[in-house]
């Protein structure tokens, strides 16, 4: 019961872990390359959450010093994740571009079909 | 030139020769001249080094530090001097012989052949003058690799198969056993330098040293102690001058030389005497002496018979080293030279028979001696020297080995040596006897007179080495002096 209680208390982490594992599972289990990329994207998104959650303080604002506010969120992880998102976008678009080329070259984007043709090695 | 410069010159000359030979690919006469001039130069320089060494001093040649305590360095000491003399003198004869043999057989890839030969001899000189185990190991591997193209000279399936066995056994043992041994030596002694009296004394327990001895004896695959001997008979597919190189000039001699060097300068004979494990390997070597002789008797192929004879004779040297007495070491060192001259004569003769009559089986030789008297005469001389009968050089090494066995009170070894000599008679002497006294089969070329002696260069070479066997009996003193000057403590 304690575990459930802990989980409920830290539901955000639970969501992060769920996304992480689900994304990784899709990457491994799916033969369709687009789906693989979807999984990869979900997997990466979970990391964005991992960074953002702890740095956001309830009621906190952007760290612009102002006498009206005394609670600030940590800006650094936000900046980092902004970078990570850019990297993620680049990765996914490159991956999709590769899939287009693979589709042109092989006529399929199913990994199994390509490998079964004896052309994977 | 200073002695140091001479040593460097001796090391460099074979490699310079190897670099020059390909320039004359299209002019065989010039190419062979380069080989001969290189060989002659090398011999002169080695003799000059020997002359400057006559007072027994050791000569340190400069080297480079490779890393922490390990140097690429050279030093001339009596044992290495002896080996260098043998290798460089026999290279000349072997080159003369090669010219006759290769041209008579119209062999392909002669340039590669002479280049690899020069590199192999250069590696042998490097082994002889190595100041430490690292340098020795470096040239040891270079020798293996440079002889591989020679062993596979024919390039047919059988040659390639034998070449693979050759490479795998020699490289395999050296990397899997010898290298760890060298490494352990460094870990224990903190140095790899060869020192009189050894560097391992008092560094480890008897069991560790026994393991080390095991690694050295079997890791030095070129010494062909059973069961790592099988590359040697397999390598018989090579042309005869290559067999001569393997058996007399460089390869196996480098093996037993390394064994002697390790026993004398790494273990030290005092330590070997204390070690109880020494006897085990002594008996392994003695067993090799006997077994290889017995196998030799069953071989009908002439070169294979000689190969097993080599396996047997090499273990004489290992026995000499493991007897761990001064007389044993002297006997072992002298056996390097004596066996080299004897065995090279035998191989030259086998090659001459092949070139002239295309015979490879012992049973085909009946009556051949009467049409090839010089060849079979030389064979007889070589055989007698190997057996150890006077008036030939082989006697002396056997003599000192027997004395060494007595000194160490190993009566069993004494018996083995005597039995083996009898076996030598049994498998070597029938060959010239068949040649001289056998009846040539009806219609065979030797009966109808279709066979002549081998080409002149071959005859010159085998006569010179046969003469060498004889001279080594009467003028063995310089050799003995060199062997006796090996510092043991």
């Amino acid at each position: 019961m304690d575990i459930l209680f802990d989980l409920a208390e830290r539901y955000n982490y639970a969501a992060t872990i769920f996304l992480m594992v689900a994304g990784l599972y899709i990457v491994i289990a799916r033969g369709n390359m687009v789906k693989k990329l979807v999984g990869l994207s979900i997997f990466q998104t979970s990391v964005y959450l991992l960074f953002i959650e702890p740095s956001k303080i309830v009621g906190g604002t952007a760290p612009i010093i102002d006498p009206d506010f005394s609670v600030y969120s940590n800006p650094l992880p936000h900046v980092l994740i902004l970078t990570a998102i850019v990297v993620g976008v680049a990765t996914i678009s490159l991956g999709l571009a590769l899939i287009v080329r693979i589709n042109e070259a092989y006529g399929t984007i199913e990994e199994d079909e390509i490998l079964n043709n004896g052309d994977g090695g | 030139m200073t002695p140091e410069a001479l040593v460097i010159a001796a090391l460099a000359i074979p490699f310079v020769g190897a670099a020059l030979i390909p320039l004359f690919t299209n002019n065989p006469n010039a190419r062979e001249t380069v080989t001969l001039v290189t060989a002659a130069l090398l011999f002169i320089i080695v003799v000059a080094i020997a002359g400057s060494l006559s007072d027994g001093a050791q000569l340190q040649a400069v080297g480079i530090d490779v890393f922490a305590g390990i140097a690429f360095a050279f030093r001339v000491e009596p044992l290495g001097m002896l080996f260098a003399l043998v290798a460089s003198s026999l290279w000349i004869v072997n080159s003369i012989y090669s010219i006759g043999y290769m041209r008579a057989g119209d062999e392909p890839r002669q340039t590669t052949y002479y280049v690899c030969f020069a590199i192999a001899v250069g590696s042998a000189i490097g082994i002889a003058f190595a100041q430490n185990l690292f340098t020795l190991f470096l040239f040891y591997e270079a020798l293996t690799i440079s002889t591989y193209p020679l062993v596979t000279h024919k390039r047919d399936a059988e040659a390639m198969r034998s070449g693979r066995l050759y490479l795998l056994l020699l490289l395999g043992t050296s990397m899997a056993l010898l290298l760890p041994a060298i490494f352990a030596t460094f870990a224990l002694a903190g140095t790899l330098d060869f020192k009189a009296g050894g560097i391992l004394a008092g560094t480890a327990s008897g069991a560790t040293l026994a393991l080390l001895l095991f690694l050295y004896v079997f890791g030095i695959g070129k010494a062909a102690v059973m069961p790592v001997h099988s590359w040697l008979p397999a390598a018989m597919v090579a042309p005869t001058p290559v067999s001569a190189l393997l058996h007399a000039v460089a390869v196996v001699k480098a093996g037993v030389f390394t064994i002697l060097k390790v026993m004398v300068y790494v273990f030290g004979i005092d330590l070997l005497q204390e070690l109880s494990a020494t006897d085990i390997f002594l008996y392994v070597a003695a067993l090799t002496v006997l077994l290889a002789s017995l196998i030799a008797m069953t071989q009908n192929n002439l070169k294979r018979r000689l190969a097993y004879s080599t396996v047997s004779q090499l273990s004489y040297i290992v026995v000499g080293a493991l007897l761990a007495t001064q007389l044993g070491v002297i006997g072992g060192a002298m056996q390097i030279a004596m066996h080299a001259f004897g065995k090279i004569t035998l191989f030259f003769c086998a090659g001459a028979i092949y070139v002239a009559a295309h015979k490879v089986e012992v049973s085909e030789l009946d009556g051949l001696g009467r049409v090839m008297p010089i060849t079979f005469g030389a064979f007889l001389i070589g055989a007698l020297s190997i057996i150890g009968l006077p008036p030939f050089g082989g006697l002396w090494s056997k003599w000192f080995l027997l004395l060494g066995a007595l000194e160490a009170q190993h009566i069993a070894i004494l018996v083995v040596l005597v039995i083996s000599s009898l076996l030598n008679i049994a498998y070597l002497l029938p060959i010239p006897f068949r040649g001289f006294f056998g009846t040539a089969p009806e219609g065979s070329p030797q009966a109808t007179g279709g066979i002549q002696e081998a080409p002149l260069p071959c005859l010159i070479a085998l006569s010179v080495t046969a003469l060498g066997c004889l001279l080594l009996f009467f003028f063995a003193e310089p050799l003995h002096a060199l062997a006796a000057a090996i510092p043991l403590r």
Partner: protein, 508 residues
Amino acid sequence: MSSVLPHLPALQVVVPLFGAVIAAFLRRGAIAFVVALAVTWLMPVIAATMLWQVIETGPISYAMGGWEPPWGIEYRVDLLSAFVLLLVSAVAAAIMPFARQSVKLEIDESREAWFYCMYLLCLTGLLGITITGDAFNAFVFLEVSSLSSYVMIANGLDRRALLAAFQYLVMGTVGATFYVIGVGFLYLLTGSLNFVDIADRLANVGPEQFSAMVAALAFVSAGVGIKLALFPLHAWLPNAYAFAPSFATAFLAASATKVAVYLIIRLYYSVFGGAIDYAALPISEVIIVLSVAAMFIASAIAVFENNLKRMLAYSSVAQIGYVTLGIGLANQAGLTGGIAHLFNHAVMKGALFVALGCVFFRVGSCMLDEVTGLGRRMPITMAAFAIAGLGLIGTPGTVGFISKWYLAQGALDSGSWLLVFAIVASSVISVVYIGRVVEVVWFREPTSKAVIEASDPPLSMLLPLIALTAAVVYFGIETSASAGLASRAAEILTGALATGVPPPGAPQ
């Protein structure tokens, strides 16, 4: 000059970055090549100058944009990073002349400039990972180098190159993401991203957060493990190397995995080393077991490979096993062997892959049965292949021997004779796969028309090959520059390791 010197750390990364942009705008392959060549040849000069500075005056710290560490991004050059910078840039500079002809043959003319752009970006990323002192910045550079290398690989002639690039992309991204997760944990634990600062703060982390620290270690290990192709995370490597354009293969094989190894050494020794007593965790054992498995299994696979590029790729996996073995041994001699092997392996594999590039340039194939008898047609190329192959085997007188010697010494220092034998026994397997090629190439008669008509490639391809092959022998005899520096770096690194109680404020 004096105004440039302080900014060398920034220039090391910024110059190739701008070079990439210029190359992209030029659109003409030949001009882009000149840019790439100029940039690449400048890199080792900068790296060598910094190495000299580090040796003379100690580590260099450069505050990027004037923001002081630990708040801003710090570029930090110590002995290890200077060594790896010089290694990557020097090998790249050596290979570069080879690129012109090879790229011209294998890459469509309209894409040549883009290819050089990608190459320069990849170089930027690799140098950036090595020079940065910031955990997240390292991730960004990791992705810069990875994304550009996916593109380079996808440009291979064979359509399987596309598949290989995609597979690498998926695995590489998973790996990089794992690394970020680890960095996230570290940030949560310490509130810092600066390696030195993290190390300082980790030493003061309480025991209740120890498991979080171990989790961070596990995530970065797995993530970087994929990047460096640690067995069994190597699945992407053989195909990627086999089907990439020859130049990309030579460059990546010589540099990419090396930089990943650098990152893991940095993390293990400089970041976690002061806080976690490795003796208390089975990390060493795991790494050693995986390394030995790589040395044997990957080598054994290489023996049965018909595609020579794939054969060398598997051999790379095995050779990385030697490097990680040194890391796992975690003692002075072992780590020296590992770091020295980074350099030695880069030189050898560079030479071998350039040789194969030359073969492909002339014969149009890298399959073993299609290069029969090539030795006499391309004597210089194949002789270089044989010599570099000897280095791979570890024959004395070549670089391979030096690293194996130190590794064996490290194994002995940790009391394991078994490992000493594993190191030498695995070398024997490499005798087989190298010997097989040498035999086919040198000791058989040519059969195919392509081989009979082949000859040594043009000088621009031969010179890099000769230079690298000469380095294989030179650094096997004169080791003060390779193993000497590696030994000093290893001394600093192992000195920072915690033994027993975490020291307060562990040094960098």
